[in-house]
Assembly symmetry: D4
Homo-oligomer: 245 residues x 8
């Protein structure tokens, strides 16, 4: 009987955990070293936070991180932040606020975002912005739903050139399967809540994507453009040899 | 204020209802005139009935109808029926028993059945046999799921020639949307229970098909090949000017 | 072993795909040849689009198509469109905007829309307008729910005269089964979100319709009057020998 | 401020509770006075009990009650009970075992059981046997589903004569609504698990019945023939002035 | 083989159907003889109807019926109706409008409405008003939920005196089971949407009530006080020998 | 800005983690110090493990722990284990195997298990055995469902004497609410899969218990007698001052 | 055969029930002795009650109880109550109003509330306030979700010191499992509706918590901070020997 | 207005599609060039296929591909295939059959599979075998569920070394969130159907994983080890610069 006590590895773990201080704002603990640990600052999810809280968190974060992303932010939140942090940029479609300072490396190409319909664009754009902020070069291919398959086929070489693809669709959620059958790159599928009746706020698309008959697909939460962009960006950077550890 | 008393129309309804005698077998009322009224004999759904009950019902039905269809029948049911009604024919894949006598008119072409995967074939074949028994000419196109879209596109002219299409698919259920985007004919979508995990016995495909982003699709129950074949057959015969009233 | 390389058929497919240019508005790709391919212009689903976007899309579409349909449009969208395209007509009940120019062929009779209750009328009327715009002659039969079956029976000859029937109902969704048992024509069933409590926004009616015990029924999405009208119109035109290819 | 201390009523409650001894078999507490309190002995639900346990419970119950009902019992349970209690009678269709001794009053007519299809008969027959055992006169009307509405209308006077109706149906569950629109008597609706695919083991019928658009319907659990027969029997006996208190 | 042609019974059915004229208001068919046929005028469900439509329907109905009930009506609907029909009475809690004229027979006692919590009162009161309007004498017992079982037991004699009981509860929906175990009268259970989180808008209470371990319970739709009151009123009138046929 | 680096506490955590070696059987890592850490050995869930695997795990565990519990074990598993570990005891109803050696402290009284029906006993007994094995004194009160509330009230003093109560019920799951309204002790509610139709394998009882209108209830998974017994045992031991740290 | 008539115990029950008068406000029955019976006054759930009703109930309750808690109360309710009962205190985050008078015993330490994210704080704070009002000493540990496990481990000694822990989390609801694996105290899990898409308003967290792989967890309703605080407070007081009977 | 006719790109697409012949076995179309197109042969899903069909498909596939994978295969399928293709290797735990010939390149390290419990191993092993067959070097880390977080932390360096991680878990499905918070590599989450009661065959774990609060997670279907292994393998090969195009 071999009994492992594993002391060394746990000590190694401690060494890593030990160097992870964080800042306590009272209503939130900011994890400044997350940037180092996982390669990207914690994103701020705006709903349920006041413009003042958002501003305070954003200001604190910009001290330790060169890039901050706020998602699902309304124009009034942007107005408040802009006053304090004039470098903030707002994307109306994606409802994101981006804060960047310092020099940026040239983007690493390889991420392609495809969207089925115009109503899926806010989610798709959120994915694109997220991946770009991580340092990826992102291409966009909009309005290529399965009802007009020739629109998609026309861009076959763009599809086959990508290192990783994010496919965004609501309603019957068939786009990821179709795309995945045409390429060898991994596909991150994003169901959207676009649809009505028996779409049940994106459930139909979610189930369809989980049951995609073509391998090489993995799925994120409904409307989770950020999660998909983050996942695709991580894969692309890993693939490019751009270590983030 | 116009008050309709509608007496005449109801009397007309009575005249039609009056001529609808039926036969009472004790455990079932056979509706011999349904054939006249809706153009096709009542189908016999085998599950839950003993071979003896199936034989008795089938024998009674063949007296008043030239065509009888038994669905979801096992080989032992077929063996029992064959002894009494030697003209019965069995299709192992579709699990159907068909009884026909008398002369048949030449089939009216126009129905196409497409199936996504080999596991969908029992349902697809049930649809094909049903439509054929109604007098339709039926073409079959198997194994053309969305993961290999070129297989489907290769048969574009066959698709565009059909007057009505039945599209059978499990898993993510994307085939009907794809097909419907390529043709102007109506598409009857049949979700199958093929799949596992989050397919939830066909629920994923059902929801996807109900949310198809291409118009010209209507959906029948999960695994309901008979219903789809009947619906498509009815549409094709209506279209061909072959009245069944 | 027979290996098909299918080269010819795919080339045929290419010939068809090749002639499908589209117009890119930036936020939407307009598929001007869809009209040719599937017999009807792409419908515009208004929710989530600004009056300005709707106006821009509609104006572009009227250039290449003689008929444009906007569904689920509010009065303010109509007001905006009317200023630019004075020929636009609004139906308050169905919330549709219709744009037509050029001469119209006489309508092909054969479509009947039946609705169970007054609350189902917006959906039923959307179906009727859609089928009419496609060139079908449409009859309407309102308020014939199953709780007063004599109201339906009184119109038995109207029911039996139709080539295709759209049956619209909420709550327990029994109307399509009842209608289908009385006719030989195909029935397109539309569940509505009318009801409360355990209707679960139309789920009860949807499931009931999918489980209809009478064959010859196929179902569209909850509240999808457009889809049902389109499907019924397609079936009727096919039946009438009015090719749309 | 009026403070009720309610002492008297609670004492009256105690007087009633006090006289309710029961018998303890170890694995079950038999409530011999339930017969007096609610007018009917506790029914024995067979699944999960061994033939020996069923026999022991039944034997004990026959000591204090003139009527015992065992539901969902298989033939082997019947064989075991018959040896000990030779007066036991088995109904194969309903899978019920009935034990009766002593004289019976003439049945009180008024209960009608209607069933949509032959597959619904086990549930319908269980309802009928339950109501009969309570002392009700029961009429049966089988195989009158909505797909052939004339079969039901033909028996309109039987329907309108009943004091209370049990309507049993699977699939789309439309029978109770249809029946209730034709009569003034209360209708007890029983959804059955008959159906496949999107019937979800009776859920479709259950939801449809709860959403019946005609008032005067109340619903029991899926396949709960006993519960429906008991409810209908109670209503009929109440109505006939046959007090059971 | 016995073939029934059933001609006579269908003719009898016709005689009954023939005498059922109705009035067509364009947007609704009013079924003036429903009163005769089922013993109560069609109730008007207010949501989705304008005050003007409600007024028009109510005015037409009062011509042929001595009693009209409007459910789920807001104060503004009442204000509009009151101007035209000054006899209208409004109940704020139940949100019902009642119109009555002519002499009334003395109420037939026997209906008891019990409610679990104060939040269930709107539904309970709707049930009470409905039963009263049908001519029943109604007792009310509020705020007797299972968390304080002594409140219920204190009223044991009131419970045991009732001929039929309506039990209204949200949250865990246990009241009907508890009540039914104490009485021999039938219990109509009404789940309400009261609760939060995993009550899922009344689903928890609905399922609990359908699974009540005590027989003699039947269930209506979530929040359907009208349906429960109607059902209970019908049972009580039937029981009292007050025929409504 | 206060930055915590938390070094000390993490080191304390390490000290605790460091002393947690485990044994690796290849197919399972046995956590011998879990006993020390959480006061009870890891339970073995039998389904999906062969008798040989169970025997091997049990033998290994008895080396480091004085008490081992195997749940959901069939008789054949017991036979295999008994050969190697003759002290093993089997409970047929609960399907548990218990291994104990060494001296036991006298049990700490305070746990009461109540069960609604006989079909709930396997789950209830599993809870009782679990709590007993932890060192608790356990009382059992069987067959006290809400349909006969007097059976429960009769044992009011037993209920009010308990320090913690486990309430086990299927079907409508009302027992925990009723019990909790009578006592001040915490109630652990266990829904069971007992029931049929709309019980949906215990979902109805689960939802009812989560919505209990009386505070002082918390719920474990469906049929999870072990979890409930463990929770109740933990609460009772904590309450008795019997530290397990 | 042993027949228990249980007379004595039921009389004992009566003696307890007899002394439970209550006050009838018309729209609510106030159970003044509940305080004695279960150790805590009935909490007032504010939604659906007017400020006037809340004030009236609160004023009445303060007469018989030294502590009153109102949950989910908005600022306008607080304003109304404060005018009449100036001692009322409001917590904006938890949306609770607390009324206390008389001397308080020193709090009994032992309750720890942990929350995964800032959006879970309203629910967590409601739990804390409830437990404090019962006389418990409460520690709070905020923002320790599983995505940064070192934040939780850093507070290992605080976790292991608690006698009972409330773990509040939305989204994937993993916190209770993680916490329970580190301690021997019982854990009360509270799913919150925090999340979007496939969180389905807290369903994802609820199911996760019910399936926690670590024993010693029980779950309350979604967002039910009050219920969790009450349960934890009860367990802690029981454990401390502070009887509330 | 810029009108794209897109002729060139579609021709390019044709060139690619043109070279995709396939083999028609009658019951299946084998897509021999899929290997070239997507880098991996079509996997064969065994359930529903006879050993003879599996053998025939496998034999045909080995002609054009150097690697064939059969999933969910029983021992009898393996026995049949082994006779014809003696090089076939079977993994009992994963239930996979693998066929390989020709030389293999050295595996590209970077894939780590972690599994929460022993019951999750069949799914985890299927993932590992799939990734290995694609040419990846795979490390395995079994039995590191969240209930014993120190087991996972002990292997922190193994986790942080991986280029892509597959995390397999049933029950509450918390493992992927926990893992993802510790690393910067992408995590593919696989919910398993391990659990009982409210796990609803893996639904609980699926929803939890979709709601993971840590970014960098994407989810595949329940029990879909193959899909996860394929996705992870694709990501790792992409990252390693091993082009498969």
């Amino acid at each position: 009987m071999q009994v492992q006590n594993g002391q060394l590895d746990v000590e190694g773990a401690l060494d890593k955990l030990r160097i992870l201080p964080y800042e306590d704002l009272g209503f939130a603990k900011l994890d400044h070293h997350r940037d180092l640990r996982t390669g990207f600052p914690e994103v701020i999810y705006a709903p349920g936070k006041t413009p003042e809280q958002l501003t305070q968190i954003a200001r604190s974060m910009t001290k330790s991180s060169s890039k901050v992303l706020i998602t699902r932010a309304g124009p009034e939140a942007y107005a408040a932040i802009k006053e304090v942090l004039p470098g903030a940029r707002y994307n109306e479609l994606a409802r994101t606020i981006v804060l960047k300072h310092g020099e940026e490396a040239p983007p690493i190409p390889g991420v392609l975002i495809v969207a089925a319909g115009t109503a899926d664009l806010p989610v798709a754009e959120e994915a694109a912005i997220t991946a770009e902020l991580m340092g990826n070069g992102v291409e966009r291919l909009w309005d290529v739903g399965v009802a007009g398959v020739h629109r998609l086929l026309e861009h076959l070489s763009m599809l086959q050139k990508a290192r990783v693809i994010v496919a965004v669709a609501g309603m019957e959620g068939a786009l990821p399967s179709l795309v995945s059958g045409l390429v060898s790159a991994p596909v991150i599928a994003v169901p959207t809540s676009v649809g009505y009746g028996a779409s049940f706020q994106g459930l139909a698309a979610l189930l369809a994507m989980l049951n995609g008959c073509s391998p090489g697909i993995a799925v994120v939460n409904i409307d989770n453009g950020f999660g998909a962009g983050y996942m695709a960006g991580t894969i692309n950077l890993t693939g490019s040899g751009t270590s983030r550890d």
